[in-house]
Amino acid sequence: MIKNIFKLSWRNIWRNKRRTVITFLAVAVGVMTLIFMQSYINGIMNSATDAMVKLDIGHIKLVNPEYLRLKRIMPKEYMVPDIDRVTAAVNRVKGVDMVDPRIRFNVLLSHGNDNEIGIAVGMDPPLVDDNIQLSHQVTEGRYLERDGRELIIGRKLAEKLNVAVDDELLLITTDINYSSYALAFKIVGIFETGYSYMDKYLLFLPLPQAQTMLDCGNAAHEVLLFIDDPERAVAVAGEIRTALAGHPQAGDIEVIPWQQDELLGELVPMMQDIWGAIMKIIMLIVGLVILNTMLMTVMERFHEIGVMKALGFKNLEVFVMIMVEAAYIGVIGALVGGALGGPLSAWLEKTGIDVTKMLGEGLMEKFDIPIPMLAKILYPDFSLAILIHAIVFGVIVALIAVLYPAIKSLRMSPVEAFRSELKV
């Protein structure tokens, strides 16, 4: 009898094509909406933290604890020593993709009679470009090569100094042994990131040049590590600590996963709360739609139930039939929704949504804000988990919707069932 019920249910739902199609469209659209919205929201949250992670925090950061403590003052002498050795140790840990050492120090900039204080950042140009596409932000001149006595400078800083591409800039600083040291650099490019902090104060130069200026040997202030699975940062950080334990100056190196970064650690839970709430509201609405539609399907056909009971079907069998029909519609609808929503979101993840069109380029120009470099295109963050959650949600709501009338029907006599369509 059970096998028959499945076949019968299937035939039942196709008897009224239009009704069935509408119902399962409702489920499909609902599931698609959930998939897309969750991906979109994840994308929004990612882009907010992305900039900070890529520019400043990395997935894991290696830093001298004293430097961290006094970070606002930027004390030159507290560094992570012996980068080669650190890099070798870190590369032995599985999952580490990129090792990005940085040096940051106050510097006096001189061009002719113009002097300004700036902040010089020594880094690995191709590496950083890989990571944040810094070269795309160079609006005049060209990007840096791996090594060479050249630098790129923020637009606003360049304006203050009255310098242009191909000009020479004298950089003077006090090294870590309190000697005054100067080097003349060639400005090869001017960049504009949209972040006023960067454009007003920063200049980038190759790491070896910075090390020469500070006379610090092969050391750096921070080493940003990027791993293939950011979620595992805490675990990987632990492995790195172990790997570094043999380093003679291990006490000078603190390993910090991004989750423990002060700023992010506060920002992320807050964003999750806000977006979580919004997502819940969306789920509520979608759930209501599915619920309503499914309910209608059953209620409309209550007289059929009466007929079935009159024909001799047992109460339990009728109950199962209702549930199975709901299951069919729910599962197919949800799967279709997943099949459509999934690939769409995955595709959008690759191509991104051009946010500027939505925010209005006109507004940006009016206030002369270049759009911050990593926020132009929003990439929804799709994952299999999202797909599965949405599908399961759709199916469960569909089933729950039908549960109430199905249970009620258990105790109804055929005549009652027959009549109830008119009433409700």
Binding site: N177, Y178, S180, A182, A184
Partner: protein, 250 residues
């Protein structure tokens, strides 16, 4: 008869009010200090010992000076500083950085930066005592003893509203006319720097400080000792010493 008595009395009063004869006016003291320090030219070899954050860094340099107007310094050690040269002509200071092969001209706030990491600022190095007499109002406040030497305590208050060291307190050795200790204050009264002369050498009837310690009170636990290892007065200065060309010489 009455007239004579009155006149004598007036004279006496005048004498009383102009103060005791053995304390000279502040202006005079400053002049005498100048006289002590005057020379046509000088050649100096010196060592700067900088104690900062529990580290001791030693630098050596040579210098040629022409009076108080021109001087040329060249650093010999440590290696990173070797070849760094400073040319001062009147108020203008220029630094040559051998690593960059470029000259930086210092002015304004840059002059108040620490020179080569020491407690001395470039401004401190360019001080001329004539400036002291022009820009400060001097007053003798009393007498004290420093290390057994009798001193006049002088207070100099700036005539100009914008002066890095608004008030200066100087202990001048009353026999040798040499400042033994100097305290430099900001306008608010905050003590900014303290200079003490630790060793004095006698040359040709002049008294010259050969070891001076300066503490920048805005830097915690920091002290610079300037030790002159050799000083020759009125030596012939090679032609072209005080020039940009000399700065850039390898």
């Amino acid at each position: 008869m009455k007239r004579t008595i009155l006149f004598t009395a007036l004279l006496g009063l005048l004498w009383l009010f102009t103060g005791a004869q053995d304390t000279p006016g502040a202006e005079d003291i400053l002049e005498k200090i100048d006289e002590n320090m005057v020379f046509d030219t000088a050649y100096v070899e010196a060592e700067m010992r900088i104690t900062i954050r529990n580290r001791l860094i030693t630098k050596t340099f040579t210098s040629f000076s022409q009076g108080n107007e021109k001087s040329f310094l060249e650093f010999l050690s440590p290696a990173r500083d070797r070849g760094t040269k400073i040319l001062k002509i009147e108020e203008i200071v220029q630094i040559y950085y051998p690593s960059a092969e470029r000259i930086l001209r210092l002015s304004g706030h840059l002059l108040r930066q620490s020179m080569m990491g020491s407690d001395f600022s470039y401004e401190d190095m360019t001080e001329r005592s004539k400036k002291l007499r022009e820009e400060y109002r001097a007053e003798v406040k009393g007498r004290e003893e420093i290390d057994g030497r009798p001193c006049w305590v002088m207070e100099l208050v700036s005539r100009l509203p914008k002066q890095t060291y608004f008030t200066r307190k100087v202990w001048v050795d009353s026999e040798r006319y040499l400042g033994l200790r100097e305290e430099l204050y900001a306008k608010s009264g905050k003590l900014l720097k303290v200079m003490t002369v630790d060793e004095i050498k006698t040359t040709r009837n002049r008294f010259y400080p050969v070891k001076v310690t300066l503490e920048d009170k805005l830097r915690e636990n920091s002290r610079t000792e300037m030790i002159i290892t050799r000083i020759d007065f009125d030596v012939p200065v090679p032609e072209g010493t005080f020039s940009e060309r000399n700065l850039m010489r390898k």
